[in-house]
Amino acid sequence: MNTDIQILDMPLDINACINWVMAPECGGIDVFIGTVRNHTKGKSVLRLEFEAYERMALKEMDKIAKEMLQCWPLHKIAMHHRVGILGVGEVPVVIAVSAAHRDAAFDACRYAIDTLKETVPIWKKEIFEDGEVWVAAHP
């Protein structure tokens, strides 16, 4: 098995993702770590609430990983997404990709986070001091 895909309701273990993809035959590991930003459009964000349609989200994440393995010569992929309530600076997503050569790892990792944001059924609500909003819900 060369993919590790999980949705978790506890803090993500960045080092575990990196260690899992690391291998002697790899020349590099590319890691994307998403973090909760403290502002959106000039407003202070207090926290984010993430929710997933878990079974479908895992399926869509698995599709992304399969596409990555088809398009680039990769060794391993770890893709972990967190759900629940996250404070500023906490980590909702970690994607680690290992490959023999760095170009494949960089390109595949970028593809993974870009596609995850477009297709995987996970939603976040931003909580401000004076209200809350489901991100991207309205035009």
């Binding site: 349609y53 399926k59 489901w134 991207a136 819900a137």
Partner: protein
């Protein structure tokens, strides 16, 4: 027929699922039409998709009894 809701759609439905009357030959487009009549706020969303059995479904897909149907508002993971 149970229709699952996520994200902002839970607020529009006032719950995590609703019951919709099932009849034969019901397509994804029919479900959207029925829901939009019952819940006009769906039309104000940037977009939304329907998933049938954990897969994004096209408008012409015919829904079978016991299929799991879910409304997928614009996703915002990551």
């Amino acid at each position: 027929m149970k229709v699952l809701a996520f994200g902002i759609v839970k607020e529009i439905f006032s719950g995590s699922s609703i019951d919709l009357e099932f009849d034969n030959e019901l397509t994804v487009a029919d479900v959207k039409r029925k829901l939009e009549t019952q819940y006009p706020k769906l039309k104000a969303l940037a977009s939304y998709a329907v998933a049938v059995n954990d897969e994004y479904a096209e408008n012409d897909l015919v829904i079978k009894d016991n299929d799991e149907v879910a409304i997928i508002p614009p996703v915002s993971g990551g």
